[in-house]
């Protein structure tokens, strides 16, 4: 859970940087990035590692939740969870499920279209044939409900990371009086920055 989670966090950073051209309206940079990501051999290997991590993280999460639910057969009549634990730490399974549903829809919209769909192509200034994913992406976020779904999903992801980032270090046994507070602050900043930055893309494209 921890290892796959942290690997997925590193992916978020790369994915965010790659998608920043959407905010500056740089069609060439975005399509060039998409082309690079689908054709460069090393990225191909890493991408399989990524798909594997998503599947493993999800299966692990389902098994963990099932086992943990089974450890308490009768629920409490009254359970005051907020007295001793954060909301996100108590709802990781729900937040994770929301993120997975988002991911499936997100991959169907862009990843599937890019790989197997009929994305229109054009010849770039450098003379390379590029798929115009930029236009498809911009068009998709003109729909209010679609943009809204992305923003809500990113908030879900943010809360998932709010607990998940520092939690993975604890699971791996990496706890230290000097470094743990730094990891916790970094994890919380990471969750806020990453989720807001991703959410800003559909908001920007919807409004522009």
């Amino acid at each position: 859970m921890a290892l796959t989670g942290l690997f997925l966090c590193s992916f978020l950073v790369v994915h965010l940087i790659g998608n920043l051209p959407l905010l500056s309206g740089d069609k060439e940079a975005f399509n060039g990035y998409a082309h690079f990501m689908t054709t460069f051999p090393l990225i191909k290997i890493v991408s399989y590692l990524l798909y594997g991590s998503i599947v493993l993280h999800s299966i692990d999460g389902i098994l963990l939740t099932r086992k943990n639910k089974a450890a308490r057969e009768t629920d409490y009549v009254k359970y005051n969870g907020k007295a001793n634990a954060s909301w996100s730490s108590r709802n990781m399974a729900i937040l994770g499920t929301l993120t997975l549903v988002f991911l499936i829809i997100h991959m169907k919209s862009f990843w599937y279209e890019m790989h197997f769909g009929s994305v229109p192509t054009y010849i770039s200034e450098e003379g390379v044939e590029l798929k115009d994913l930029y236009t498809i992406t911009v068009a998709a976020f003109q729909e209010l409900w679609y943009a809204l779904f992305y923003v809500i999903s990113m908030m879900g992801l943010g809360f998932h990371l709010w607990h998940g980032f520092a939690s993975s270090f604890q699971t791996l046994g990496l706890s230290h009086s000097k470094y743990t507070p730094i990891i916790e602050i970094f994890g919380k900043s990471f969750s806020v920055i990453v989720s807001l930055a991703f959410a800003s893309i559909p908001i920007y494209l919807l409004l522009s």
């Binding site: 450890a71 409490y76 009254k78 001793n84």
Partner: protein, 249 residues
């Protein structure tokens, strides 16, 4: 003070339980929670109702026997206290108080609020000991130098009274705080280092066999622990477990 008590009644391990409601009057705010239950039980005896069965022993916060899940929290709303150290002044006059047993598959209910916590004993039996030659030439405990930091950390872990509040409060009914405290109190000291790898593997294995859940690091256990055992112990156990698993034959 006056209270309405919603308490879990269950006549046996296999019987179906449910909440029963009673009223108690004339409760002093200086009474401990257990004394309030004593008053309630006296009243029930007079009314010819079977008294509420609950665990208790020392009534001074060191034995770990008193359990009870009070208003949704293990040992009630106080911090760093067991149920016998919880005073009625923590509640408002006229409050409704809900009392349930500690709930976990590994802690089966015996009757009413009394649960069987012997799963903890079996975890201890799996490795919570140090093998020492006691055949006349007992080593001097103070002959081995121990770093102050380690001695303090081991002592802090050893203050665990095994009450099970960590399991009761954990949304996963995980026993990681208890097990990690017991692993830490020994593995931090030179005498316990010899069996450290074997100990962590065996105790974690037993913990899983007992049917406790897994740790998802919510941190609820350390908040509810009457002895303030830190989840740093859980990280230490995870660390020891990972290295012991990798190096074991």
């Amino acid at each position: 003070m006056k209270f309405t008590i919603n308490v879990w009644r269950q006549s046996g391990p296999k019987e179906k339980g449910g909440i029963a409601t009673y009223k108690v009057n004339n409760i002093s705010d200086d009474m401990s929670f257990l004394e309030m239950i004593d008053v309630l039980n006296e009243q029930l005896i007079i009314q010819d109702i079977e008294p509420v069965v609950f665990d208790h022993d020392c009534r001074e916060g060191i034995c770990g026997m008193c359990s009870m899940f009070i208003n949704g929290e293990a040992h009630g709303p106080g911090r760093g206290v067991t149920t016998c150290q919880l005073h009625m002044r923590e509640f408002q006059d006229g409050d409704t108080i809900t009392i349930e047993p500690f709930r976990a598959k590994a802690f089966p209910i015996i009757k009413d609020l009394m649960v069987d916590r012997s799963a903890f004993d079996r975890i201890i039996q799996a490795g919570g000991y140090v093998s020492v030659n006691t055949s006349g030439n007992l080593p001097d405990a103070n002959a081995t130098p121990i770093e102050k930091q380690d001695a303090d950390a081991a002592f802090d872990a050893a203050t665990c009274i095994g009450c099970g509040a960590c399991v009761a409060t954990c949304k996963n009914a995980s026993a990681m705080l208890f097990t990690s405290a017991k692993v830490s109190q020994l593995s931090l000291l030179p005498q316990g280092k010899i069996e450290a790898s074997e100990r962590v593997l065996n105790m974690v294995k037993q913990m899983d066999l007992e049917g406790f859940g897994n740790c998802t690091n919510t941190g609820a256990c350390e908040v509810e622990c009457p002895k303030g055992i830190s989840i740093e112990n859980i990280a230490r156990m995870n660390r020891d477990y990972i290295s012991a698993s990798l190096s074991s034959k």
